[in-house]
Amino acid sequence: MTITWEQILAFLCEDQSMAITSLLFLAFFAAVALINYALPRVLRPYFLLIASYGFFCYDPVNRPLVWVIAAATVVTWLCGLIIGKVKNKAVRVLALLVSVGFGIGILIYYKYWNLLADSLGGSFLSHRENLLAPLGLSYFTFAAMSYTIDVFKRRCRVETNPLHYALFVSFFPTLINGPIERYPQMRPQIQKSRRFSYGRCAGGAFRMLWGYTKKMVIADNLSQYVSLVYGDVSGISGPNLVAATVLFAVQLYMDFSGCCDIALGAARILGYDLIENFQSPFEARTFNDFWRRWHISMTSWFRDYVYFSLGGSRCAPWRHYLNIVIVFVCSGLWHGADWRYLAWGLFTGILAAFGVMTAKLRRRINRWNPLYRMGWFKALWQTIVTDGLFCLTLVFFASAIYNADPFAVYGSLLQGWDGLSGSWAQVSNLIYSSGIDGRLPVVLLFGCFVVFAAEHGGRSVAKWIRQQVWPLRWTLYYGAAAAILFFAAFGQSAFIYQQY
């Protein structure tokens, strides 16, 4: 059996899109990393820019939309240049408005057009069929807008090298799922590329492997059950809806943080440190703390550019609460042009505002709670309540993804309960029939335990693994690889946050 290079290439390029879980992406990334380090350091950002545009343009759907990312880069860079160099305030404000307006404009044109058209009843805007958005639209527009706002607010020096800035906007590991980068964080790394460090690369590679394990072994397998329940919620009993909602929270975390691990690991190998997007969110003890640990790059973006602009907490209490709600509504809208995301944002915002509103009162009451004298119980209870509230809001989110009626779900949550054993039987039967059978449930449970334990306290697995003795390190390498090989659900490569 002879296999030619052409056949290997044909095999790798069989799919038209470069999914991050595909062999093609791994081959592409390995080639990019190899060439990157073979080049002199001064040339590396330019090569990575070419690679990023290559990655963007690989998918034929994205190719005609490459002008969007290029235009967003050019417009925001020029606006940043004007804002940074011109002293006339009116011109600076105008440039800022152009930059932000352009960013929001392309978001509306490619993402919210149909929502607006439908909301306006079609009289003003007409509904567009096959509305296609370029890859990473919400991520690169937010990153680009943050640059001009930072330059305007004098939080960031103006970038005179357009190619360095272009790499910041289009850096390929962040194009699929973020994180939403900030230029002050990226700038020194782009301007002076790091020398090769074996430790960094090994840590990055493990972080990628860790991310693949979370995504392909845990998230993709859990999605079988969640999609079965949320795919058709009619006739699904309360215990199954509760279980699916809780498992959806785990799935969402494993999926999204897994992809972030891949992105951060890949960037780390290439010599860049990106923003950590998660800090053990399920260990949070208050709802607001949860949101400081979940999707940090997005929440911090809204905090810095929306919440603070609205006055933050330095205003009247009612205005403070309103600011919180507005930020979460914006966050809901960021996720997609669907009323269920909006409702999710509103619900989350109200809960967060309520949390702030009652914080003092709860602290006072807690002093009189005898059970809270046991520290472990207090921590456990608060964590359970926080995670429970998060799961409760996620019904809207899951309904938007699986196109279900969230109110039907909420309405059925308490129905069909049949004692502990009866309810458990209902859940376990459906879990088995969804394809999670044999050894898989044990593997998923154990996998979740390992992930949560390894990431306890916001620990970075990339650094942590390098501190371990080699037998443990290599056991984990092989263990993760074997877990993917034996238990990963292949053929479900799309990430949930890829669509945003």
């Binding site: 607010k153 964080q185 690369c201 090994a202 923003i275 603070f308 690889a481 090989l485």
Partner: protein
Amino acid sequence: MPKSPTPIPAPPVKIQRGAPSRAPAKKRRRKKKRNPFLWFLQGLVRRIYFGLKTGFKFLLLVPVLVFMVAFSYNVDRSGLFQGALAPRRIVDLMLQGYDVTNFEQMDERQVVQLYAQDVPETPEAIGIGSSRVLQFNRENTGVESFFNMGVTGADVRDNMTSYYKMVTYGKAPKVLLWSLDPWVFYGSEAAFDARADADLYNEFLTKVLNVPTDYEEPNQVELWKALADPAYFQGNVDYYFKNRGQATVTDDEGNTIEFNPVEGDPYNQPTTIKRSDGSVLYDVAFRSQTEDQIRTLAAEACMSFNSVHMEGFDEMSQTQIQAFDSFIKYAQSQGTTVILVLSPWHPYLYGYLLTEPEMHKGFFQVENWLRQYCADNNIPLYGSYDPACIEGLQETDFFDGLHCGGTGIARFFPGIPQALADLQNGTLANPLDVHPRTSLEDPNAQPAEGETPDGETPTQEG
């Protein structure tokens, strides 16, 4: 909140626009001038060192991939590399020395292909041909490591590719026993069996005999893809654990594979079985028919004689003759001694054919041409299509009109060791000494035994 290990966007820091206070001027150190060649060399060495180190560490993960590929290749639930599961089970059993039940349901061609692939040691002799060769076995050939690669309804493509497969796996046997059927020399589509592997035959013609065909090198990417596909690996893991240590084996879809080792006396089985040497042992009832019953079957075969790959066979095909000659030379070039065998037809059937020679012109040409060919090329030839040419052949030596049993074979075939000895000593019988009847008008033509008047005809002894 725990301390972040990697930077989280810091709260906005305002940059003061006023002129920064000037720090006391430090004397800048002068940078040492670097030798550009040394600088380049340093960079190169650094890159090579770290490249090798990283490459080596990644190589340590290769065993995981090797395990995946090896496991998928060996379990191969879809039969992409090892052949379909059922034939694989049959071959496994045969290689373990078992006779296998349920012959009628076997895909004999796949069994033969898999046998060629899996047999650990090259058999000394193999037999090829149609079902008419399937009665040759270890006993009547006299070779312990004989394997019968004949398949029911075999055409020329089956014959040649069976041997070709053995050669491609580096297992060319010392002796090739070919029971030649007349349709081997018929060039029409009618001579071909739909079950034969046409692609493999085209490959053989193109690659070995240099005969141009529409053969194209198969695209191996699909196969390669399955080996590199973790989903296929997972399917194989499931299949392996499901069937490990089970008495009954299931196929890819969970259906039971009904091929099992023969239990009890193989000669006393109610169904036809495949022996471990590839030969076929018919069921007791078929083997114990009376002379009349056999003749009835032979009479039934008269009307359908041509339909067995010989419809419109009026003339031997030059192309097929050429292919036959090339194949013999190819086998000889592989160090294989070819022994040809002509398995007789039932006397009643042959007698019937003589009554309508115009209908079987091609058929009657074959044997005489073949005798001449063997005489010219010193190739051992045993048997005859004409039963009258075989001394002592009885009607009860047949199972039906087409198939001669072991007792019949023993009357004309002395066994492979004897044939080889004769060939080596130059004591082979002259093939031209035997004159098969080709028509009733033929001076040599004799009516079939029991139906037409007796007469003398040159015969062949085993």
